[in-house]
Symmetry: C2
Subunit: 256 residues, 2 copies
């Protein structure tokens, strides 16, 4: 790399989440950063965008090499605004999202606002990497991730991911990792997804809290992100935004 990389950062746990603040600490020595993150938690927001009301954007700090903004919208809104409103001459080398407090592997990727931010970079032709730690604790220990994040960010910039692809990187909760594995997304599903609870104050009314258990549909497979995480490896899953089921096109032409 000839010059300092320029990276857009976002997340879905909000600007002041420890995961994002850790990412800023890790990347600031090696890159210029534009941080645009939600003003609070936006977990489970996927690629949601704010369509019917306007969003706000507030500058939190602006020093050389680190500009930070807080946004009222979703992770997707944050990256859209960074690209559409806040870029100067320099084109970003990478969008980095996270570090998420919680597992975004397998089917969770579809719900993840962390992935939503990464996808948005890709949709604008910017390579993207999302980082998540399988630990929901707001005070989770992110220190073991540091050398891996630096390495993956440098390689993603130098290697330059192909159009329409990004990396979904998940770390197991551990003090030490067994290494890095390139994986496919495990096929899993969620079960027991709600807890029904009485609505205080209104007799006979109920509300539903999202809960649930993720169940593997292929517990024997060893080439998945699920397997890597449960065996102490950092799981790197390349994802594509071209979600066409190409293998079905000719089959469906016979049916429809």
């Amino acid at each position: 790399m000839k010059q300092r990389p320029f990276i857009i950062l976002s997340n879905d746990d909000g600007l002041y989440a420890k995961g994002l603040q850790t990412l800023i600490e890790i990347l600031r020595p090696i890159a210029d950063l534009l941080v645009v993150a939600p003003d609070g938690a936006r977990s489970g927001m996927a690629c949601a965008m704010t369509a019917n009301v306007p969003v706000t954007l507030h500058r939190v700090s602006s020093v050389r090499g680190l500009r930070m903004y807080s946004c009222s919208g979703t992770p997707t809104d944050c990256v859209k605004l960074a690209i559409a409103q806040l870029l100067k001459k320099k084109r970003p080398d990478l969008v980095v999202s996270g570090i998420n407090h919680g597992d975004n592997s397998s089917i969770n990727s579809h719900y993840s606002g962390t992935m939503g931010a990464a996808y948005e970079g890709v949709m604008h032709g910017i390579p993207a990497v999302a980082f998540s730690l399988c630990d929901f604790n707001p005070d989770a220990d992110f220190s073991p991730l540091q050398p891996y994040i630096v390495d993956i960010v440098f390689k993603a910039i130098a290697f330059g991911l192909p159009p329409l692809t990004c990396l979904n990187v998940n770390f197991p909760k551990a003090q030490k990792f067994n290494g890095v594995r390139i994986c496919r997304m495990a096929h899993t599903h969620w079960d027991n997804e709600f807890t029904k609870a009485r609505r205080p104050g209104i007799p006979g009314r109920y509300v539903y809290w999202l809960t649930g258990d993720r169940v593997s549909d292929e517990p024997q497979a060893t080439d998945t992100d699920d397997w890597s995480l449960s065996h102490g490896y950092v799981a790197i899953t390349p994802e594509t935004l071209d979600v066409t089921a190409h293998q079905l096109i000719d089959v469906l032409k016979e049916v429809f």
Copy 2:
């Protein structure tokens, strides 16, 4: 089919949107329906789910063959609740989402709550079809779609889509269609995505309205949903929920 199909319906424009009410009218004569839809507009919600607060579910009507519920959550929440809380003995044959007021082809699929509802069915092993009309008008004319919807729903049930796949069906705004085409998702991107506007009441403050133009990255391609829609065809795009970029796995193993 031996017996009347059983279909879960949802959408992202809300329970009382004309698109969903049209879908109910079209499908009620041929299927038993469980309708769970948001209590208002949830456009652009993608696969977002309500993670931090509970959601409510209200029975609007319950007659033989047509149960309807209104939900405070997202399209994803609606389908999750339908499956987790409202199913009796009979397993659904299909999840149908729509008819969306607006285009969900190409890159729009990633932001679409209509697709979010369909994806949720697939995640629970239920085949799913999403219908969208390229017309944002709340009073859009859905009547030309009727025979196509019946045909596609019957074929989707009879054919039984493979695991992890669903159909994203978009109709051009027209009184008559040139036929049906099986397509891949066009590669496009959004440009000029925000309109900056003064915040009334607070001098010097601005807000950002999501706007924008979708731009094709492959205007010559004829096998895409974009091409089909602009040439008067109904576009059926099969989508997969396994978003692994499989072609990248071996390449990345050399890099990381």
